[in-house]
Amino acid sequence: MKCDVCQSEDATVYFSQLIEGKLKKVNLCKSCAEEKGVTDPTGFALADMLQGLGQESVAEKRNAPGDRVCDECGFTQSDFKKTGRFGCSHCYVVFAEGLESLLEAMHKNTEHHGKVPKRYEATKAFRERLAELREQLQGAVSSEDYEEAARLRDAISKVEAEEQPQEDNDSAE
């Protein structure tokens, strides 16, 4: 049996816990178990863990009992629970909620820092420029520098107006 988190190592730690009267089980490999702190029972809650796997996310409880479905390929949340794989690239948009915590469990960082295909370069630069300006705006507001804040706000709307990204279909946000 494979580890529920990394999906690659064999599971050697089997963990069960009662949550809202229901028995939940998680199978982990040694290194994931250590990372999740399963070996330290006081600091570990299975509920958080399951949320990390996208199984009991807040959003799903809110939308329950409906199973979310990808409008492009028909893949469902339960399909993901079963296979650990998505149906198509659009699934990353449909199942975006809860994805962040899943990725946190798998990777060190949840933002891509590698190669960018040419036709996405403009989009990426545009988003980074916007993010930078918004951060500066935050800083200006919190230090009550309203003159600077006004300037930044104008700069943001200018960038937004000028550089509409051409290709944003696959944005997961």
Binding site: C6, Q7, S8, E9, D10, S31, E72, C73, F75, D79, T83, G84, R85, F86, G87, C88, S89, Y92, L99, L102, L103, M106, H107, K108, N109, T110, E111, H112, H113, G114, K115, V116, P117, K118, R119, Y120, T123, K124, R127, N169, D170, S171, A172, E173
Partner: protein, 368 residues
């Protein structure tokens, strides 16, 4: 297009030539996962959708400069043994070999680049180089990827990077790995420590044929686990650093064995020599493990330097599917063990008796 029979006759380039640090690092491999927009991933796609994607992608891959006179075939057109040969040469994954209609493989003449269509992702491309040269392997694949990117609409997200069927490959979609020969760490019982150490810093260590396979011939594959959050170069640099540390540990373990247990080492290498030179029935596992000891002997100067290449080629040629291609018929396990022993005897005919004198007496003078 290259015929499959031509491909079979020639060992892959990385099996024959030596790369940097080739005593301990057999090969360096880079794999990139890519998908196309508006197409379901292969695992979720219907048969017709997989076929349509293959029809769209295969010609584009075949037109790559690197794929001049390439071998290109749909997996359904290959026999079980032919597919297994590709697995034994690490040119396709075990998973890909098991797949049905709509799956294809394209590989260059030198067998250093192979591109699987409709594996777990639409494209799984791999570059393999002898010795430790991960960055070189990446550069050559990066170029191919950029060529493909101009003609295929990749699924990419500015935040999450390349979108893959499994979120564990998200971001760079890159798996960098090296095949290490670590008999010193195995014989001195430090290997588990090494594996655990690598696991702790986020690297995976696997056996000869990847996930869940046994560590035969003292060969271990080490690779990155995480793909998202760091650039390709950073991931490679980190892995490279760890591998260099393991190489140093392996060299120290060998020196220490020569120092502390010279008789045990002579006995192991001498027995390997005797069995491989004279056995008439030999199972795969035994042969692989004994060949590893001959390779170690060659590193230590007990055998000639040129013998290492023979061993490298043999490690692949004695695998079950390669044997059956050689015999041109299906062989049962017992027949394979006989043919395997024959091929090993034939190839090791020129291997002279192990000469321990030099290395051991050198050590004696060191002690004085």
């Amino acid at each position: 297009m290259m015929r499959f029979s031509t491909l079979l006759k020639k060992p892959a380039e990385w099996m024959r030539s030596a790369g940097p640090d080739h005593e301990i690092v057999m090969t360096s491999r880079i794999r990139l996962a890519r998908n196309l927009v508006d197409h379901p991933f292969p695992g979720w796609a219907r048969k017709e959708e997989r076929l349509a994607l293959m029809e769209e992608v295969k010609p584009v891959v075949e037109e790559l400069g690197e794929m001049k006179d390439a071998f290109s075939e749909e997996m359904t057109n290959l026999s079980a043994i032919e597919k297994q040969v590709l697995v034994e040469r690490h040119l396709v994954s075990r998973e890909h070999a098991a797949k049905g209609p709509g799956c294809a493989t394209v590989m260059n003449r030198k067998q250093t680049v192979s591109i699987m269509i409709n594996e777990e992702d639409h494209l799984r491309m791999q570059s393999i180089q002898p010795g430790l040269q991960l960055l070189r392997a990446y550069r050559s694949l990066d170029q191919i990827d950029s060529e493909l990117e101009s003609r295929l609409a990749y699924a990419f997200d500015t935040r999450y990077g390349y979108l893959t069927a499994c979120p564990t490959n998200l971001g760079t979609g890159m798996r960098a790995s090296a095949m290490l020969h670590l008999p010193g760490l195995v014989l001195s019982e430090q290997i588990n420590q090494t594996i655990q150490g690598a696991n702790k810093i986020g690297l995976a260590v696997r056996g000869l044929y990847g996930e869940g396979t046994e560590a035969l011939a003292n060969l271990f594959q080490i690779s990155n686990q995480t793909t998202l959050g760091r650039s390709e170069e950073d991931i490679i640099e980190h892995l490279d650093r760890v591998i260099r540390q393991i190489i140093e540990n392996e060299q120290n373990a060998r020196l220490k064995l020569l120092e502390d247990k010279p008789t045990m080492l002579q006995d192991q290498i001498g027995r390997a020599y005797a069995v491989l030179r004279h056995a008439h029935i030999i199972p795969s596992k035994e042969a692989l493990n004994l060949l590893s000891l001959i390779r170690l002997g060659s590193d230590l100067g007990v055998f000639g330097e040129e013998d290492r290449e023979v061993i490298n080629v043999l490690l692949t040629e004695i695998q079950p599917a390669h044997l059956q291609i050689e015999a041109k018929r299906k062989l049962d396990a017992e027949e394979r063990d006989v043919l395997r022993a024959e091929i090993i005897r034939r190839n090791l005919k020129g291997l002279t008796e192990p000469k321990f004198g030099d290395i051991l007496s050198n050590r004696d003078t060191d002690d004085e």
